[in-house]
């Protein structure tokens, strides 16, 4: 064990891990995070706190992590390279580790043109793969990327994202391999609706031996309605929702579509669990955190392992 991370512990014991995410509020009210946290108690092994996702300003990921940490969760600090240069990144890593954060998810981040501040200057001093290297260097070598010594290495379990569904498909396993080479220890994937394509991706990943070097958590997002499915298919880049999934949603009466979405999500988890190399599931119930317990329970993932 390189860290105090509960997620690392669950995964290293070979148990099927469950993570979820919590989007911080667009305001300074900590109770919003607390309420979301209360719904997730005992349901998951770790909780991602997003970092200004889709470039919309929200409470900082670190602040959200601390609120959840106080509630007994093992938060995952999401960090994008869009808004910080390497100086700020190193500093935030030290600060997060000092406050007891055990996990980091290294991302480049959505382009700022998606959010409310499209006129902002972006940073992208480094990319997500270089961020993985940076964290690993600080943690394992006890030095800053500059080579200067640091005192008190940040013991963070290192994660990153992978999108098996974005073009060019053929390069996606190789890109995952680069993240593994950089030192990533767990991966959370983009929401999976096209399970056939995901299995092809995993087959490629296994051929490269990646499943033995990194813990892959399959991402799922329950669909609230056929309308949401159509919207996501059309508007979210790198999102692959097959027509049959949309048809299944649309076939249900409107008031039952949310239940259908949960049913499809649970089925997906059960199938993903059987895929060789899938070490866990990442349930992203976007602004629908109250459904996470139902999904986790129906998927037979309770109780979560307890550690003294």
């Amino acid at each position: 064990m390189k860290t105090e991370s509960r997620l690392e512990r669950v995964l290293s014991q070979g148990q099927f891990a469950v993570t979820t995410e919590c989007g911080p509020p667009r305001g300074a009210d900590p109770d919003v995070v607390r309420k979301k946290g209360a719904l997730l108690k005992g349901m998951v092994d770790a909780v991602n706190v997003t970092d200004n996702q889709t470039s919309v300003v929200r409470m900082s990921s670190l602040a959200g992590c601390m609120i959840l940490k106080q509630m007994g969760f093992d938060p995952i600090l999401q960090m994008v390279t869009r808004d910080r240069n390497r100086i700020s990144i190193q500093s935030d890593i030290l600060g997060a580790a000092a406050l007891g954060v055990n996990n980091i998810l290294c991302l480049s981040g959505d382009h700022q043109t998606f959010g409310d501040d499209p006129e902002a200057k972006n940073v992208f001093d480094i990319d997500s793969i270089q961020l993985i290297q940076l964290v690993k260097t600080m943690r394992d070598e006890g030095v800053f990327p500059s080579g200067k010594e640091l005192k008190g290495a940040p013991r963070l379990f290192i994660g990153a994202a992978s999108n098996p569904f974005a073009e060019p498909f053929a390069i996606r396993p190789l890109r995952l391999a680069k993240k593994v080479d950089a030192g990533v220890e767990f991966i959370q994937t983009q929401c999976i609706y096209n399970l056939d394509r995901f299995e092809t991706f995993m087959k490629e990943a296994r051929n490269l031996g990646l499943h033995e070097k990194v813990k892959i958590l399959a991402g799922v997002t329950p669909l609230k309605s056929a309308g949401m499915a159509k919207f996501m298919k059309k508007n979210v880049a790198g999102m692959d929702i097959p027509d049959e999934v949309i048809q299944r949603m649309a076939a249900a009466p409107k008031e039952e579509q949310a239940d259908k979405g949960i049913e499809i999500c649970v089925e997906s988890i059960q199938r993903l669990r059987e895929v060789e190399g899938v070490a866990g599931v990442h349930v992203m119930a976007i602004e629908w955190e109250q459904k996470v317990p139902e999904i986790v329970e129906k998927a037979g993932l309770l109780p979560r392992p307890a550690f003294s």
Binding site: D127, S128, I129, Q130, P168, L174, D181
Partner: protein
């Protein structure tokens, strides 16, 4: 070449509102090629401004001059004799040219008539596109001759990000091809895909603008 785009006429008229006579200076360099600041554009812009000011009941006198290049000191001398007769200089060269005019003629009020936009190419007649950000440390030998700094909207050195669309465009805009998709296709077609497996390290941005304004001194050429 350096690509520029003339400022909107409304903005220029606002900028010129304090003046009754100006020197309008074009450049025979890049901005002539990209049809935004050459002799012809000087003529057209001059007529447009004069007409607008006449219509507004406040005529303006404009002297037109187009220099060989505004970024070389010897050519700037051509405009020196006219300077004291005019209240301001409106330059439609790139930002370097405009600043060099200001630098060489300390008493002159120098106004920008052009927005300098990028270093680019003529994709087809009337279409220019960015290709280089002058970052000062070229990696094109590793990326199939396609620049990740310029062509990827996030300047990722180890792309592509997860936002590439099914049509191969960037998440930012459907009109922008994913730079990393172009790089990968090119590495494949030229038998260099193994380049992709190497992690490109954190870039030394000091060679870019981040090290402060840049300067090259070639002693072999210096007098």
């Amino acid at each position: 070449m350096i690509i520029g785009q003339q400022k909107a006429i409304e903005a220029l008229l606002e900028m010129l509102s304090p003046y009754d006579n100006i020197l309008l200076v074009g450049c025979h360099g890049c901005v002539t090629v990209c049809r935004s600041g050459g002799e012809k554009e000087v003529e057209i812009l001059s007529s447009t401004i004069r007409l607008a000011r006449e219509t507004a009941g406040r005529p303006i006198e404009i002297r037109e001059v187009t220099l060989e290049r505004q970024c070389d000191p010897e050519y700037l001398e051509v405009m020196r004799p006219y300077l004291e007769d005019y209240q301001a200089v409106l330059s439609i060269a790139c930002g370097a040219g405009i600043q060099f005019v200001a630098e060489k003629f300390p008493a002159a009020r120098v106004l920008p008539g052009l927005d300098t936009t990028f270093i680019g190419v003529t994709e087809q007649q009337g279409v220019w596109a960015e290709r280089c950000q002058a970052c000062g440390d070229c990696v094109l030998h590793l990326t199939g001759g396609i620049c990740p700094v310029t062509r990827c909207s996030k300047s990722l050195f180890n792309g592509p990000c997860g936002g590439t669309t099914t049509s191969g465009s960037c998440e930012v805009n459907k009109e922008i091809p994913c730079g990393w998709m172009l790089i990968i296709d090119r590495l494949r077609s030229t038998g260099q895909i193994e380049n992709y497996r190497k992690i490109l390290p954190m870039k030394k941005w000091r060679s870019s603008r981040d090290g402060g304004p840049r300067k090259i001194q070639r002693e072999d050429l210096m007098g």
